[in-house]
């Protein structure tokens, strides 16, 4: 297996799927001539030409709707949001059109579109550029949501998303693009939607998370190991469909749960997972489920305030200690 970056993994996924299927095209701001704001689409314009790698005007609502309309009539668009923050201008077309078209038309119009782009906070980008919005997207039936945290998952999930016949939103980590990891070279390597991955095996506590936060959680688990606590770190990878079986398996094993996400707590992914566990595995629990999320405030700019607002390994460790009554 080759060791490549998360960015290169996404680039490979796009190139391979565009090579495989002429109906796949990439559209978004700066994806062509500029090679992508985060260089994910580097070289694709030269390889596929300007009908398949399309620089759009800054017009999120317009090009998102364009993708849904194109998908209604058989194309398989991939839309890059420069960041998901900007997708808030476009969500009418995602939630009112893409999510509902198949149902409203009684099954006549599939929407095989992929939306992708970075989510979550980077460094000092302040309130409007630091949001983790995956919970909002996962709220809507008709939409599928994935959030890869490693290069291999990035490639495998993006390929699965493009091949899927439903609208799939791929939430990439803005801070992960340079992350290196082993990625299978097989053209047909995919990571199926709806399959979680146990990133670390333990027995005392289950830390359940997704996306960039898996690295925070793995760091916390490594520290906890030194004080004799072994943690399962379950990476959900896919938020809708959700691998509920894997969640219940780790809960049954450790009986103690800490849920971690980069977004806000209200109506968050962790809120949904906590509800599922108490509905379906209440008797397995030896302690209340605790959560670590972003502080419930708009992200501040000042360095120290921002640091305090983000979830971090110390917070995870502290919650783990609480569920272990230490």
């Amino acid at each position: 297996m080759a060791v490549i970056t998360y960015r290169e993994a996404l680039n490979q996924a796009l190139a391979e799927e565009m090579e495989r299927d002429p109906d796949v095209f990439l559209m978004g701001e700066e994806v062509g001539v500029y090679n992508g704001a985060y260089k994910v689409s580097k070289g694709l314009l030269d390889q596929f030409g300007d009908m398949r790698v399309v620089d759009s005007p800054i017009t999120e609502l317009g090009f998102t709707g364009l993708a849904v309309g194109a998908a209604m009539t058989g194309l398989r668009p991939v839309i890059e949001f420069m960041t998901y923050n900007f997708s808030l201008l476009a969500v009418d077309q995602v939630f009112n059109a893409a999510a509902k078209m198949l149902s409203m038309s009684g099954g006549q119009f599939k929407i095989p579109v992929t939306f992708r782009g970075p989510t979550g906070a980077a460094l000092q980008l302040s309130a409007q550029h630091s949001q983790a919005l995956e919970a909002m997207y996962a709220h809507f039936p008709g939409i599928k949501v994935v959030a890869p945290g490693t290069p291999a998952d990035a490639k495998g999930l993006l390929k699965a998303a493009i091949r899927d016949d439903d609208p799939v939103c791929v939430f990439e980590g803005e801070m992960l693009y340079n992350l290196k990891g082993e990625v299978p070279e097989d053209d047909d390597f995919i990571v199926p939607l709806g399959v979680a991955d146990l990133k670390r095996e333990g027995s005392d506590v289950s830390i359940i998370t997704h996306g960039k936060m898996i690295h925070t959680c793995l760091q916390a688990a490594a520290t906890l190991e030194k004080s004799g606590i072994s943690a399962d770190v379950l990476d959900l990878r896919s938020l809708r469909p959700l691998d509920v079986d894997s969640i219940m398996r780790t809960v049954a094993k450790t009986n103690r749960v800490v849920l971690v996400e980069e977004g806000w707590p209200y109506g968050g992914i962790t809120a949904t997972v906590a509800a599922l566990i108490q509905e379906e595995a209440f008797d397995e629990l030896d302690a209340p489920i605790l959560r670590v999320t972003q502080a419930d405030v708009p992200m501040p700019y000042a360095k120290q305030l921002e640091k305090n607002a983000k979830p971090n390994a110390d917070l995870v460790i502290s919650k783990v200690n609480q569920v272990l009554y230490r």
Binding site: F25, M51, S56, P57, T59, L61, G62, F63, T64, G65, L66, A67, V68, G69, A70, A71, M72, T73, G74, L75, P77, D92, Q93, N96, A97, M101, L102, S103, M104, S105, G106, G107, Q108, F109, K110, I111, P112, P141, G142, K144, D164, D165, D166, P192, L193, G194, V195, A196, S238, R240, P241, L242, D243, V244, D245, T272, L276, E279
Partner: protein, 383 residues
């Protein structure tokens, strides 16, 4: 304390005028373009150019079916057979009938929620449209869409959309597909005039013109966005002028005249098909009924007198007189035609009434196209 400079300046400021005190947004009465559109100075020969007597009779048949079908819909709604929001097309028939007749088989069309007639005209069976209104399994969307969401993949009718202006980027995407695949097809999208104020409309026009996509945008200006008169909603009365911001050709059509709708749309459709890019058409029309079945025909926003006066321009009656004068369709033939479309409408009602309710399992169908995934897709704990 003495008066400050600011207070003095404010006192000297002339009285601020309300938007309608300015001369620019002309009302229909003051707008020369409206007059021209309503009474096109064309000879009869020019107005019917390229149309055979069969074509002329077909336009009549289509409009009459639209009218009778919508009347039957209104009756069913009054009987409680149809639920939810239900927007009728009565008064505006010339727009969709003229414009869709200007298209070819294989072309696409899409509109907002006042969509029953567009669906019929695209070739969807009246039975299926009525059954959808009734929320029955035999409907176009198996009863899941209702009045506002008619769809037919087979007929190239792409909805039926409920968010004002939301269909314009979707239509843009269909036009993109046509260009992407190198097809000789045209996408036609309808919007109400009030949708023109949505960003989605402008974003779509820009990209359609930028990429020269085969899109014909037809704004059905029935003068009221629900109860808000157009001159109270737009700084510019003439919608066709909005195309100039995108270097796009535009035209005004008389939306009460099926021949004018056909002629103007045909030119735009031909241009789009031949690679000439998009066109914006403003169709000036009038709705004889309330915004939806739950709204009054007249009231605070328009008077009974105004509606009665507009009804003198009934597109069907005026066209019937024209065909009679031309000797293309006699009064007797018109009556035979009318009986036929009434029968079709009545049969549609009967079909809908007898169509079964969707089965319970239908609730979770067509939410996802591809359920062949691991993991859970539904979280309601019901299945």
């Amino acid at each position: 304390m003495s008066e400050t400079n600011t207070q003095r300046a404010l006192a000297e400021e002339p009285e601020v005028k309300g938007p309608r005190d300015h001369p620019s947004p002309a009302t229909p009465d003051q707008d020369p373009n409206w007059e021209r559109a309503a009474k096109p100075i064309l000879s009869l020969e020019e107005r019917t150019r390229g149309l055979s007597p069969e074509d002329l009779r077909k336009f009549m048949y289509d409009m009459l079916l639209a009218r009778r079908f919508e009347e039957a819909t209104g009756e069913s709604y009054a009987l409680g057979k149809i639920g939810g929001f239900c927007h009728l097309y009565i008064g505006q028939e010339a727009v969709a009938i003229g414009a869709i007749n200007a298209m070819q088989k294989g072309d696409y069309s899409m509109t907002a929620y006042r969509d029953h007639v567009h669906a019929l005209q695209m070739g969807v069976e009246p039975n299926a449209v009525m059954a959808e209104l009734y929320g029955r399994a035999g409907g176009t969307s198996k009863g899941k869409g209702g009045s506002m969401h008619m769809f037919s993949a087979e007929s190239g009718f792409l909805g039926g959309h409920g968010i004002v202006g939301g269909q314009s980027p979707l239509a843009l995407g269909v036009a993109w597909k046509i260009k992407y695949r190198g097809e000789q097809k045209v996408m036609q999208v309808y919007l109400g005039e009030a949708a023109v104020n949505q960003g989605a409309f402008h974003e779509s026009l820009n990209m359609a013109a930028l990429w020269q996509l085969p899109l014909v945008v037809i704004v059905e200006n029935n003068r009221f966005g629900m109860g808000t008169a157009w001159e109270r909603a737009s700084s510019l009365y003439d919608i066709s002028q909005k195309a100039s911001a995108y270097a796009m050709p535009s035209a005004i059509a008389d939306g009460m005249d099926v021949l004018d709708m056909y002629r103007v749309t045909k030119e735009a459709v031909d241009r789009a098909r031949n690679g000439g890019g998009p066109t914006l058409i403003e169709a000036r029309t009038y709705r004889f009924v309330g915004h939806s079945m739950s709204d009054p025909v007249h009231g605070v926003y328009r008077t009974k007198e105004e509606v009665d006066e507009e009804k003198l321009n009934d597109p069907i009656r005026i066209y019937a007189n024209l065909l009679s004068d031309l000797g293309v369709l006699s009064q007797e033939e018109l009556e035979v035609m009318d009986e036929k479309v009434k029968k079709i409408s009545a049969e549609a009602v009967e079909f809908a009434d007898n169509s079964p309710e969707p089965e319970a399992a239908e609730l979770y169908r067509d939410v996802y196209a591809d359920e062949d995934v691991a993991g859970r897709l539904y979280f309601d704990g019901r299945r």
